[in-house]
Amino acid sequence: MIAHVWLIPALPLLAAILVSAGGRRSARLAGSITAGAVFFSLIMALNVLTGLISAPGVEQVSMVWLRSAGNLSMELGMLVDPLSVIMLVIVCFISLMVQIYSLGYMAGDQGIVRYFSFMSFFTFSMLGLVLANNLITLYMFWELVGLSSYLLIGFWYHKPEAADAAKKAFIVTRFGDLGLLIGILVLAYFLNTFNILEVGEAVKGGQLTGHWSTMVALLIFAGAAGKSAQFPLHVWLPDAMEGPTPVSALIHAATMVAAGVFLVARLFPVFAASETALMIIAYLGGFTALLAATIACVQNDIKRILAYSTVSQLGYMMMALGCRDYIAGMFHLTTHAVFKALLFLAAGSVIHAVHTNDIRQMGGLGPALKITAATMLVAALALGGIPPFSGFFSKDAILMGIWAAGRMDLLMVGIVTAGLTTFYIFRLWLVVFTGRPAEKKYQAHESPWVMILPLLVLALLALSLGWLGENFRHFLSASWGAPSVGEAPHHRLIPMFALLASLAGFGWAYLVYFQKTISAALLARKFAATYKLLKHKYYIDEIYIFLVRQGMFMLSRGLAWFDRYVVDGMVNRIGEFCRLAGKGTRRLQVGRLQAYLLAFFLGLVVIMVSVLMTHPEILEIIRSYVCPATGRVVAML
């Protein structure tokens, strides 16, 4: 079975190369080629999935990439187990949907060839990442998805905001990747292997002693936090919305941002070895979930609301993993991938119709965009955790996991966040689709069928995926590194509380934005300070800008000055000294022969005297040569 798995990532890569090699000529076919490739990948991934369902197991295959003296070998390899196969299917499926949608959304764009080849390249990298069986391969694809994300956020590179956002995304995630890389180095130092299975065994066997296991887990988590936009590295994701909307759906909602969650799951034994690390992950996840949800409540850009929602939901997943509920975290990742992709694609359909991102300029779009409104409602209900939509089940599983871990404070955070979630998503939905149209005149019309079809398919899944719960649990628990799971934890009251919170959030949104019994403007005035704080996203961006400007750039400029005027200044001083010395000695070169001769003889005398003074025996020698001759002369006389 595993023999052909490499084709799953290879096909999109091939398509990306093919399309970009075709250049302008392939403009018309580009989307069909890349979508076709990922379609076949999906078929193969489903094939592997069914194979694995009937015969669960963990298989890996590697080839040597390089070998170095000093007992080091690096490999490229794949690991096929339920976890990686589920990720394969999610990535292929969402990518297919998004690419079909893009055929309509991106039609007529100048850079369409570039767009589809980047999308296909992203799909390749992401598939490679989820299949990796060793840390080097994983890190390589990890960086490649970062690159694709950079290229696609900056797709409209002539827009300064897009170019800025792309740069910010790359650098902020790279900051996290630094941790991941150092974590890998530490593992290599202690364990001398990169293979994930061997690393897991070694950690379980207690080969990482003392605080090292916590250190390694946290370092690796830094990488995960960067990609999955966890506080304090979440700032890049909202800005990443400058990319085309389908890109946001695929990369910045469904797949790449979930890579951090996947990484924690993939290396779960490493994390499981440290209670401290897990606790930090759980609380950071909870904090992020709450923080982002509050920000989402007051934003007006339709995509940014969804972006903060993504940050919040990823925090939810991290919270689950931190509470050792691996299954719930992955389950929520799966359902979230579907309904969040749907939300983004539907938002794209709205933007396509009205050409603005600002929800204040929308309103009353329901009648014109019936299918978009309906499918987005399904996604909103799923996100809000209303039964029987998929989000209800996965969110419940997480809350149950937190309860089972005995973290009541986090449970509260989860429930409050659930309420906020329904509030902001229905605020969005109600403002966009109901009420009176905003002043701006536009001719809103439903999107073409290539865009509608993916919406319908995704809506169907957003509705039904939750019922897979028990099967999912059973299947995933056969993954490598999954903690042994018994019965799913169960508590009758928790879902009730969560549902109540969700309904309260919905009710509040309904009163404010549909019935208008409570004025939103009045609320904003009443809680002006809070409102301002949220509106400015807790000023986190401003703090970073300050740190970067006043810290790093000042340091950099200071060092540049130091280099120019101190290090190089010293060099020039030495040069000047030599020149001055030359100038001084030049005076001696007066050009008069007599002066030179005089100096010459004086020098000779000085040398002779000094030689004779130090070596008196020379005098004897001279005398022995000179005296016999003198003696003879004297004798002759």
Partner: protein, 486 residues
């Protein structure tokens, strides 16, 4: 005979160029191109002729030159030398392509370029210390004329600074070489003879730093690096390419060949202190690069930073790190060649190197933008390109010896990402400026030059196994000398 053939082809080409009729201004470049294609073919033949299984020095030739002093003409290549020879052949070939439009005294220009390359080839394959020094000087001296005559900006200042600096390095080196000669077996400059000698610890402790410093100057060792940004900034494109691409590698190569191989005990004594300087190279170089506004200075300081990784890999005295260092020498050579070729092409079009004045060039020059982004990605260590492989090997190896210090070095990749992406954005992204509306993308000759360099970077990055195997043959024998090191 292959190695001697490789040494004579550039010289003969240079002579032919000098005898071409003056009025045929396009002939020199064609002759130079032919010559460099021949060197490329010969170096590929050398690569094919090298027996990986046997390892060690191969294709050797030896002839008496000055028997009275024990000077021989002895050349041979080992894995490390072989990789460097190929690097040089590629860079000079692309350098000729990149200087296709040199109008001022093309005959002399190409002739000097080829003489310089002969020297470089010679250093990489010399097995006799005297020969080594001779070729080294041959490689360094034409630089003065190439920058002084064909350069831009404060060219006389830069040329003089560079030459004096490198001569100072040579002087130290010569002291080291003479010390080796006189304390060696006597009456032989042959490296094999000297290597058989075991030098006392005290001798090694004194001579190693002298050699390290002498070569280190050429490798951009902090704080003796300031000749390089000025030199690069003033040098014509091809000279910058050769200079950063190959010449700086001579320094690192010398440290390994003479320092590490002949004076292992001295290396072990000094390495722990030198490592700290290499960290300064890496982080300081990257931070200073961040503040530059002249594109050539950005690339030049990035070279300082990247050469720091090479030096770190050397000073770690760990086989994995040394493998990485040599691979980084190759990778950085190609990458920086690509960078300087691009800077030349961009400057040729916009007539400015100030990144603040550029912007939105990506729309008119997608090919140049692509190539620049590729070079940038290599520079920031993106997997899939050669830079990543080299850096991770250095980091893995160095981490085993100096874990805490290596973490500082690793942060360099973040700073590199910052200055690279900043430059990419400032030059190619954003709205198009009116004054750049009529600029053209790369012509076929330029495209060929850039494509070759990019493909090599990609090829090595995707499948580094072959190159690492070749380098490994040298590293293994050195690691055996260190013995006790972990």
């Amino acid at each position: 005979m292959l190695l001697s053939f490789l040494l004579t082809v550039p010289v003969i080409t240079a002579l032919v160029i000098m005898f071409l009729p003056r009025e045929r201004t396009t002939w020199p470049r064609w002759v130079a191109l032919t010559g460099t294609i021949m060197t490329l073919i010969i170096s590929c033949r050398i690569l094919l002729g090298y027996d990986l299984g046997a390892a060690g020095f191969q294709l050797g030739e030896a002839r008496e030159l000055l028997p009275a002093l024990g000077i021989k003409y002895a050349v041979a290549v080992d894995g490390m030398g072989l990789v460097m020879v190929i690097l040089t052949a590629v860079i000079i070939f692309c350098g000729v392509l990149a200087s296709w439009d040199v109008r001022e005294r093309p005959q002399e220009f190409f002739a000097f370029l080829l003489v310089l390359v002969t020297g470089v080839f010679g250093v990489f394959m010399a097995r006799d210390l005297f020969l080594f020094f001779l070729f080294y000087e041959l490689a360094v001296l034409p630089m003065y004329l190439l920058i002084g005559i064909w350069g831009t900006g404060a060219k006389e200042y830069s040329a003089m600074k560079l030459t004096i600096y490198l001569m100072a390095g040579s002087a130290l080196m010569l002291v080291g070489i003479l010390a080796l000669y006189f304390s060696g077996p006597g009456q032989s400059f042959l490296l094999d003879d000297i290597a058989r000698q075991s030098f006392s610890r005290n001798f090694q402790a004194v001579v190693f730093p002298v050699l390290f410093l002498g070569f280190g100057i050429l490798a951009g060792f902090w704080p003796f690096h300031t000749w390089s940004p000025d030199g690069h900034a003033s040098a014509p494109t091809a000279v910058s390419m050769l200079h950063a691409g190959v010449l700086m590698k001579l320094g690192a190569f010398g440290i390994i060949r003479l320092g590490l191989e002949l004076l292992p005990a001295g290396a072990q004594m000094w390495a722990p202190y030198l490592v700290i300087f290499t960290l300064v190279n890496i982080v300081y170089g990257a931070l200073v690069a961040m503040a530059q506004t002249d594109l050539k200075y950005v690339v030049a300081y990035s070279s300082v930073s990247h050469m720091g990784i090479v030096l770190l890999g050397i000073c770690a005295l760990h086989p994995v790190a040394l493998n990485g260092a040599v691979l980084q020498m190759f990778s950085h050579g190609i990458m920086t060649g690509l960078f300087f070729a691009l800077v030349g092409m961009i400057y040729g079009r916009t007539q400015t190197r100030d990144i603040r004045e550029m912007g939105g060039l990506g729309r008119r020059m997608p090919y140049l933008a692509l190539a620049f982004i590729v070079a940038g990605l290599v520079s920031l260590g993106l997997p899939g390109f050669s830079g990543f492989v080299a850096e991770i090997l250095v980091f893995i190896g160095a981490f085993k010896v100096y874990p805490w210090l290596t973490i500082i070095a690793v942060t360099g990749i973040l700073f590199t990402a910052i200055y690279i992406l900043r430059v990419v954005q400032k030059i190619f992204f954003g709205p198009e400026k009116d004054k750049f509306k009529n600029l053209k993308d790369a012509n076929p000759m330029e495209k060929a030059c850039l494509a070759i360099l990019m493909l090599i970077l990609l090829g090595v990055g995707v499948y580094p196994g072959m190159l690492v195997d070749i380098i490994n043959t040298s590293v293994k024998s050195m690691a055996a000398v260190w013995g006790g090191t972990p």
